[in-house]
Structure formats: structure tokens, C-alpha cells
């Protein structure tokens, strides 16, 4: 039972990370209709900058302060140099070009930081554990991630529904030409949204630093899960991204723990572990296929 609660929290934590990534991706897709495979690279940039800044300063907050603007600026540069030319193009052109960006960024980090992964310590003031229910200590750093993710969700909700910028973003998602005709600088809006998405990806990367190895290519494994999230949630919908992210995070984490246990009931242990492990890896894909067969446009389709 205690293990179950721990896994539940781990699932929440993964879900929150996925939400940070998929919120940006789904906004970018919703407004600019661009499939940006390089979103995972911005996550990687955030992680590398944070790990490096942490090595030099020893302060986690400074590392965050360095990673966020760098990721945002890199994102905006990418938007202005490459993606801006692809808005009117076929989705496949976007896939090919942003795949090129992935290759470029992965190799660039190898050139700058080498092939060895970087490791980042959990900041001292978050290195303790918290007993949420008696007898179940949980690392406070992971709790902090969950908290940050919740705050970001609230922030995005307020931004999109309560501010002028959010109104323009929503309007841009429904009808680009109309918004431009009404005098909104849609190019600037695009760059800003892209920067916001990159910032969130960078935040996810920086926070992932102390839990994962910071290495070249770390963006791709999470990128696929991110796409799974936005397809399940319904492309372009922030609410869908939140629900999808939590769902995928929980299924991915709890599947790895529950499925082998479940199979042990009617299979020999060794076989149950093997089959359970692979079934657990498949679980999110089975979930996505099932959702799409049931509702081909995802759970909360954004446009009509």
C-alpha cells in the first residue's frame, strides 16, 4: 500500500513534467499549426544549461534563472530562423525540418558538453523527505515538482482566460487571418507563444536535471510521450494536455508496478516479470490507441 502511494506520487510527478512539455507543444500546434519535433531539444537545452550553471554556482535557483531565459531565447531564435518559414507548408515539411533541428541540437550538445552525461544534485533545501501519510516518506524535491506543475497549470489558465494576451492567443488559434486583420501583430504573437512553450520546456528540463541523467538525446524519449499526451488530450487543448499528461504519467508509472504483480497471479514469477515489464512499456501506447479508436480526435478536441 505504501509502495502504491509512492508510485502514485511518482506518476503524478511524471505527469506534471509531461504537462509542462505538452502545454507548450499543444499551444504551438493550436496556434501555428506547426508540428515541432524539436520541442524535446528545448527541454534538453534547459537541462544542460541548468546543470552547467549549477556546477558553477552551486545554487539551484540561479540554475533555474539561467535555464529558463536561455531556453526561451533559443526557442524564439528557432522560431524566427526556421519555423516561421514553415507555417504555410505541409506538416511533413515541418516534420522533416524539425527532425533536422533535433539532429543538430543533439550533436551540438555532444560537441559542447561531450558524450558523458552530466549529473545534478538535488538542492540541499529540498533534499529531505516528507511523510505525507505516516510511514511513507517521499522526497520533497519530487513534491516540489508536483507543486510547480500545479502552479504552472493555474498560471496558464489565468493567462489564457483572464488576460489580453491570452485572449489574443485563443483568438489566433480559432482564426489566424481574422486576428491579423483586426490589427494584432500575429508574427510577434507567434514568437511570444513559441517562447512561452520553450520556457516551459526549459523549466521541465531544468527540474528533470536532478532526477535524470542530463545527456544528448534525452529529449526524444520524453518527446514521444509528450506527443502521446497531446494526441490523447486533443490537439490544441490545454485542458486536454493536463488530463492527458496526468493519465499518461500514472499509466506509465503504475503500469510498471502493477502489471507484473497482476500477471503473477496466473503466471510463473519469472515469466510474469518479463511479460509484465513489456506490457507496462506498451501500456501508454495501448491507452493512446484505445482512446483514438474510441474518439479519433482525442478526449477534448480544441476546434469544433
Amino acid at each position: 500500500m505504501l509502495l502504491f502511494i509512492e508510485q502514485l506520487l511518482n506518476g503524478l510527478q511524471l505527469g506534471v513534467m509531461l504537462f509542462l512539455l505538452s502545454a507548450g507543444l499543444t499551444l504551438v500546434f493550436g496556434i501555428m499549426r506547426v508540428i515541432n519535433l524539436a520541442h524535446g531539444s528545448l527541454y534538453m537545452v534547459g537541462a544542460y544549461i541548468a546543470a552547467t550553471a549549477f556546477q558553477y554556482t552551486g545554487s539551484f535557483l540561479l540554475a533555474l534563472m539561467a535555464a529558463l531565459p536561455v531556453a526561451a531565447v533559443v526557442g524564439m531564435i528557432v522560431e524566427m530562423v526556421v519555423l516561421r518559414r514553415l507555417y504555410e507548408r505541409d506538416h511533413l515539411d515541418q516534420v522533416l525540418a524539425t527532425f533536422g533541428l533535433i539532429l543538430f541540437f543533439n550533436e551540438l550538445t555532444r560537441i559542447i558538453w561531450g558524450r558523458q552525461p552530466l549529473f545534478m544534485d538535488v538542492p540541499k533545501w529540498l533534499s529531505s523527505t516528507v511523510e505525507i501519510i505516516p510511514g511513507a516518506p517521499y522526497p520533497s524535491y519530487r513534491l516540489a515538482i508536483i507543486l510547480v506543475g500545479m502552479l504552472v497549470a493555474v498560471f496558464l489558465y489565468l493567462l489564457l482566460t483572464r488576460t489580453r494576451l491570452g485572449m489574443q492567443i485563443r483568438a489566433g488559434a480559432s482564426n489566424r487571418e481574422m486576428v491579423a486583420a483586426l490589427g494584432v501583430n500575429i508574427n510577434l504573437l507567434n514568437t511570444l507563444v513559441f517562447g512561452l512553450g520553450a520556457l516551459l520546456a526549459g523549466l521541465a528540463g531544468a527540474m528533470a536535471g536532478p532526477i535524470l541523467a542530463v545527456e544528448s538525446g534525452m529529449g526524444e524519449s520524453i518527446l514521444i510521450l509528450t506527443f502521446v499526451v497531446i494526441v490523447i488530450g486533443g490537439i490544441g487543448s490545454i485542458r486536454g494536455a493536463l488530463i492527458g499528461a496526468l493519465l499518461v504519467g500514472l499509466v506509465e508509472t503504475l503500469g510498471g508496478y502493477l502489471l507484473p504483480e497482476l500477471l503473477r497471479l496466473f503466471l510463473p514469477p519469472a515469466m510474469a516479470d518479463g511479460a509484465g515489464a513489456s506490457l507496462a512499456s506498451m501500456a501508454v501506447y495501448i491507452l493512446m490507441a484505445a482512446v483514438l479508436i474510441w474518439r479519433p480526435r482525442g478526449l477534448f478536441p480544441a476546434h469544433g
Binding site: 543538430f104 560537441i111 514521444i224 490507441a289 483514438l292
Partner: protein, 332 residues
């Protein structure tokens, strides 16, 4: 048909064919047998890329799960070989099926099973379109990837090493040159078949559905069935490519089914020019050759390949093939 073959196009195609036909001779002349191995890989990936072009370029169905069929074909060859080496039967019920390395039995099985797999995956995936279709095909390919990892009997993560290539009467496939020409022949046959297919009434319906599915449907064409058949043909083609790949490397592993492999085949199609059938062959050749050449100069060759892909997207509308033949790209 001949009027489409304008002079420039004819020149490009015939020189391409000539290069592929003469390659083993050239390799022998300059004393570099590795060239034959490299081009065998190119030809095999070209076959997979052409089959993907059928659904992506002509059907408008962008699949990121094409390695499901590629890997399936490879695993059928690998599993037959495994049982031959092991001496255990492949199946004992309802009839005894022993392992085999007879290409005339194994390869058609690979094609058939890949096609069957494509029928199942396609039937479910075609409920969606666009981005969702990309992701659902990816999902099925990943499921199959993890399925083969979980098959401990067949090596799990490590895959199956084969003792030798499949056997064909009169040919010696262990000989790299003979194997190369066989692969090339199969590629040309599949290319001819695909070309006839997309020019047929069937191909017109598929292309019509790409442009406007609703309209084709209203005209009385059951587009879902047409698209499904197209998907199955492409899957079977990829299965053949996979069977050849297993023979080329004499090794089969789940890595053949990883999604990055699907990505690479899709890149070949886009790089060469989708909806052109010949383009994907060029794309396969350019991508694999660039990997080889750049890797010889610098360890960090990807840092050049990435921007190269971006430049192709930005400046070559119909891929590299479009650049070569000019404005005459045949996208109806």
C-alpha cells in the same frame, strides 16, 4: 505514359539505373567490396521507402509506424532461421511447421504476415486522419517493438543471429554480388508494380481520396477500403524489405522496429520527394551515403546533416528528385 518521360527525366532515371546496375563492377574495379554491402543496404531501404511512399505520397496517410512491417518481415526470417538452428519445430499444432531457410517458403511468409499485420493495424488506424494517424501508427509500431523485446525465446533485446542467408535454387545468396542483384531486381519489380498501381484506376481513387476524401466518398467510392488495401500493399512491401534486411545483416533485433527507424525511412521519402516513387530511392541513397561519407570525416557529422535536411525542406519543393528533374514532377 511515354509522354511523361521527358528527356531530362529519362536522363536522370537511366543514369540512376545504370549506376545501380554497374555498381558491383565498379566496386570490383576499385577494389572496394564494402561498396556492394553499402549499396545492398541502400537498395533494401529504398524498397521500404518506395512502399512507404505509396501511402504517404499517394494516399496522404503519413505513417510513423512503417517499421512494424519492416521488422515483422525481418523477424519472420529470423524466427524461421532460429528454429532451423535450434532443431525445434516452429509450431506443432495444427500442423508441424519446422524452421527453414528456404527463401521460397520464408520470404512469401514474411510478406504475407506483414500484410496481415498491416490489415489489422490499418483497419484500426484508418479511423483517424492527420496528426492522430501519425501517432496511432507510431503507437502500434511501439507495441510490436516491446512485444519482440519481451520474446525471451527469440533473444529478447539481443535478437537472433542467423548462421547463413536464405537458400534459393541456382543462386548463392551468401555471395554479396548475387545477393545485391537479387535485391535490386526485387526493388525494380516492386517499383514497376507500384508505378502501374498508382497509374491505375485504383491509384486514381487513392489520390482522389488524398485530395478530398469526402468528395470521393460521395462519388460512390468506398475510400476506406481503398485506403486499407493501399496500406496493406505498402505493409507487404516493407515486409519484403525487412526479410531482405535480415538476410543482409544475418541478424535480427528489436532495434529494427524502433520508432527512430520509422523516422529514418520517412526522412528518406521526404528527402527524395514524396509522391514520386523514384524520389525515395534517391532519398535512401543520399541519406545513407551522407552518413557514410560525413562519418568518415568527422565524428560530429550529424551537426551537418541536420541543417542539410532543413535546407532541403526550405529550398527544394519536391525533394531532391524534384531538383533533379525540374518542374516535371509527376504529382498529377
Amino acid at each position: 505514359m511515354l509522354k511523361l518521360l521527358t528527356q531530362r527525366r529519362l536522363l536522370v532515371l537511366s543514369s540512376g539505373l545504370l549506376i545501380l546496375l554497374l555498381l558491383p563492377v565498379v566496386a570490383l574495379a576499385i577494389g572496394d567490396p564494402y561498396l556492394v554491402t553499402l549499396f545492398t543496404r541502400i537498395v533494401i531501404f529504398a524498397l521500404a521507402a518506395v512502399s512507404l511512399d505509396l501511402i504517404v505520397g499517394f494516399g496522404g496517410m503519413v505513417s510513423l509506424g512503417h517499421t512494424a512491417f519492416f521488422g515483422m518481415g525481418a523477424y519472420v526470417v529470423g524466427i524461421f532461421a532460429f528454429h532451423l538452428q535450434d532443431g525445434s519445430p516452429f509450431a506443432s499444432w495444427p500442423f508441424v511447421l519446422d524452421g527453414s531457410d528456404n527463401a521460397l517458403l520464408v520470404w512469401p511468409s514474411a510478406i504475407l504476415l506483414s500484410g496481415l499485420m498491416a490489415a489489422v493495424i490499418g483497419a484500426l488506424s484508418l479511423r483517424t486522419t492527420g496528426m492522430q494517424f501519425i501517432m496511432i501508427t507510431l503507437a502500434f509500431a511501439q507495441m510490436l517493438y516491446y512485444f519482440f523485446i519481451s520474446l525471451e525465446v527469440y533473444g529478447g533485446d539481443d535478437g537472433i543471429s542467423m548462421w547463413s542467408r536464405s537458400q534459393l535454387p541456382t543462386l548463392n545468396l551468401g555471395n554479396d554480388t548475387q545477393f545485391y542483384y537479387l535485391c535490386l531486381t526485387l526493388l525494380l519489380l516492386f517499383l514497376f508494380f507500384s508505378w502501374r498501381l498508382v497509374e491505375s484506376r485504383f491509384g486514381r481513387v487513392i489520390r482522389g481520396a488524398r485530395e478530398n476524401n469526402l468528395r470521393m466518398h460521395s462519388l460512390g467510392f468506398p475510400t476506406y477500403r481503398y485506403q486499407l488495401v493501399c496500406f496493406i500493399i505498402a505493409g507487404a512491401g516493407a515486409g519484403l524489405a525487412g526479410a531482405l534486411m535480415a538476410n543482409q545483416s544475418e541478424f535480427v533485433s528489436p532495434n529494427l522496429l524502433h520508432w527512430t527507424q520509422s523516422g529514418e525511412i520517412l526522412i528518406m521519402v521526404l528527402l527524395g520527394g514524396m509522391g514520386t516513387l523514384f524520389g525515395p530511392i534517391l532519398g535512401a541513397a543520399v541519406l545513407l551515403l551522407m552518413e557514410e561519407i560525413l562519418a568518415a570525416y568527422t565524428e560530429h557529422w550529424l551537426v551537418f546533416l541536420g541543417p542539410f535536411l532543413i535546407l532541403v525542406v526550405l529550398f527544394a519543393k519536391h525533394g531532391l528528385y524534384g531538383l533533379l528533374v525540374g518542374q516535371e514532377v509527376n504529382r498529377d
